[in-house]
């Protein structure tokens, strides 16, 4: 998983045709619809890859 639009696992259904209301929150916080540390880690990895310091994320 390299981009936020990629799905963390098969539970994620967000596409432009079948959108999820929580998509933006999910990108930065990890999945809202289910709990899975592995999925959270996947999201986090995308951010860590390009975050330049602790303050990079401002939400």
């Amino acid at each position: 998983m390299e981009k936020f639009i990629d799905h963390c696992c098969e539970k994620c259904t967000h596409t432009k045709e079948t959108p999820c209301k929580d998509f933006i929150r999910c990108c930065v916080e990890g999945p809202i619809c289910h709990e899975d540390p592995a999925c959270v880690a996947k999201r986090k990895a995308i951010i860590e890859k390009v975050a330049i310091n602790d303050q990079f994320v401002i939400c």
Binding site: I24, V50, I52, C59
Partner: protein, 605 residues
């Protein structure tokens, strides 16, 4: 994880100073040492300090390298990236400080700035939607989707945001007008037709943070009930257009533009329209005509675009910088935070483009209410070449000048209006004693005269007649009563023109007469231009006491009018001299004097 991130300014200013070649050299060096994968290179937005470009900022160290050349890259890679040692001689060093400075904390240019609109510029990759989202992007839009449209308008109103395009009308109120207008089809238009000469903040925002504009438009659409948007952008900004197109594609892919956005009953699409080179299209009704494929001519208001705009439908038109503020206001708690900065009548920050005879040219974002002095001396570093500050022109061809006596004027909408200038789009052009205020007024009027669309008589004919008078004055043919004629014509044009262009274009003339009447009178009665700009109205002379006989001026003279022996004072042959000004530019001893025509006859008698 990358070891370090290198942000190379890829905005027009730095590209012009050669940042592309710097990037190529950097990549070559990284490849040479086989460490390219450890470091992330982003050719991104503008950190604002164009004067010292090309710029690279190295994160997380926050080291700010400037005035870079391709040959410096070997050092940056070998010393800094490989050994962790900062390359001292590439750091910024101010004229008054001993030690070189690192990033924001120590560079005076950044000390008084507050980044709202430019929050992402130079920090994220403008072509990456993910990075925009990581920085909190599209959060405000997600929140807006769950709100009632009227609630969103109310929040924007409570923040006190006023339009950043010029007139300073309340943005929330404007939205409410469109929301309350009836009709199924409504539009949002982003005015990116930044035409004021000397202003380039919108370009920088579009190039550095395009998603902020899309998010602003989405929130506006949600608040006003619109379902289609246009960005009307100058064709002279190809990079901005390219980045916007990429941003729109990405937002569509992510389901942030299109139908049933994020599962809500909300559809929105955005089109880009390239302008075709007409200043008047910055005026909202002319802009709409241009989008419709017509000649870009304004029409009388009312009806206002909020009732009848694009293709006759209710339309909200906001400027780029206004829209870039929106996500900050609509985020949780954002409105109060926004309103906590600025003055009573002008909230938030404003981006200014500093240009002209100022040391630190570039973009700066400062809280409203900062004084002219702080911007020019603290942020701008004072006047180039240590000359004397004369005035600053605010608001471009629609604005006016602020003279040295008013350096402590706070910069906000109302104070500027009172001083005879306007906020306009935020261009600040600084002038020193070598700028002629009559020529400046003539310059602005010749610009607006050329750009007048010709629809209404006061603007079409009036500007032409005023320009003729100003031309006459700068040629030494002026009469004192011309000043009264200029004054009365200016007010007639302001009162009777159809659109903002005509209503504001006499401002530079009025304000220069108000503050520099003596210069006009000097042009008219003494036939003298003390700034040395209006060619028929001055002569150059070499001050024999100051001239060292270095011969630089003689070499620079294209018509061989300067003669003299080496190490002895030189002389100018006025019969040959064309007043081109090469000598005065080159002289390092201030020995070239500007004096009235005919003075040399007095001396010889």
């Amino acid at each position: 994880m990358y070891e370090k991130h290198l942000m190379i300014c890829g905005a027009t200013g730095c590209l012009s100073s050669g940042s592309q070649a710097v990037e190529e050299a950097l990549i070559k060096e990284l490849k040479k040492h086989k460490i390219k994968d450890k470091f992330r290179l982003v050719m991104g937005g503008c950190p604002g300090f164009c004067e010292v470009g090309p710029i690279i900022v190295v994160y997380p160290d926050e080291v700010f390298y400037c005035r870079l050349k391709p040959k410096h890259m070997a050092e940056v890679v070998e010393k800094h990236l490989l050994e962790g040692e900062i390359v001292e001689h590439l750091l910024y060093k101010g004229p008054d400080t001993e030690a070189p400075a690192r990033f924001f904390d120590t560079i005076p240019f950044y000390a008084k700035q507050k980044f709202n609109v430019l929050r992402n510029s130079g920090i994220i990759d403008p072509e990456s939607i993910d990075e925009y989202i990581m920085r909190g992007g599209y959060r405000a839009f997600s929140r807006a989707l769950a709100m009632e449209p009227a609630e969103i308008c109310e929040e924007v109103k409570s923040a006190g945001l006023r339009g950043r395009g010029g007139a300073g009308f309340s943005t929330g109120l404007k939205w409410e007008f469109t929301l309350n207008a009836s009709g199924q089809k409504k539009y949002v238009v982003c005015n990116a037709d930044e035409g004021d000469p000397g202003a380039f903040m919108d370009r920088s925002i579009l190039e550095g943070d395009p998603h902020a504009i899309l998010e602003g438009m989405l929130i506006c659409a949600r608040a006003t009930g619109a379902n289609e948007g246009y960005v009307y952008c100058r064709a002279e900004y190809p990079l901005a257009i390219k980045r916007l197109k990429i941003a729109i594609d990405k937002a569509e892919e992510y389901g942030l533009l299109g139908e049933k956005i994020l599962g809500y009953d909300f559809n929105f699409k955005i089109n880009i329209k390239e302008g075709a080179g007409a200043f008047v299209c910055g005026e909202e009704t002319a802009l709409l005509a241009s989008i419709e494929g017509k000649r870009g001519m304004p029409r009388p208001r009312p009806p206002f675009p909020a009732q009848s705009g694009l293709f006759g439908k209710p339309t909200t038109i906001n400027n780029v910088e206004t829209l870039a503020n929106i996500p900050l206001i609509v985020k949780e708690g954002g409105a109060a935070e926004f309103a906590s900065v600025g003055t009573e009548g002008s909230k938030g920050t404003k981006v200014f483009a500093l240009a002209g005879k100022i040391r630190n040219t570039g973009l700066c974002e400062v809280p409203m209410g900062i004084t002219v002095r702080e911007i020019i001396y603290d942020v701008g570093g004072g006047i180039k070449g240590g000359r004397k500050f004369k005035a600053v022109q605010a608001g471009g061809p629609s604005g006016g000048c602020i003279p040295a006596e008013q350096l402590d004027l706070p910069i906000d909408y109302d104070s500027l209006n009172k001083a005879g200038a306007i906020m306009g789009s935020g261009g600040l052009v600084v002038m020193d004693e070598r700028t002629c205020m009559v020529d400046l007024a003539r310059y602005f009027l010749s610009f607006t005269q050329k750009e007048s669309c010709g629809k209404c008589t006061p603007c079409r004919e009036g500007t032409k007649r005023m320009l003729e008078i100003l031309n006459r004055i700068t040629e030494g043919e002026g009469k004192l009563k011309d000043l009264d004629v200029l004054d009365s014509m200016a007010y007639s044009i302001k009162d009777s023109s159809l659109c903002g262009l005509g209503q504001t274009c006499p401002n530079p003339v009025l304000s220069t007469i108000r503050y520099f009447r003596n210069e006009y009178e000097e042009h008219i009665t003494d036939k003298f231009c003390r700034a040395g700009v209006c060619k028929p109205l001055f002569n150059y002379r070499i001050d024999a006491d100051k001239c060292t006989g270095c011969t630089v001026c003689a070499k620079a003279c294209p018509v061989n009018a300067i003669s003299g022996e080496k190490k002895k004072p030189h002389e100018i042959n006025l019969d040959l001299c064309t007043n081109c000004g090469n000598c005065i530019e080159k002289c390092r001893f201030d020995s070239i004097i500007i004096e009235p025509v005919g003075r040399e006859a007095d001396v010889s008698n």
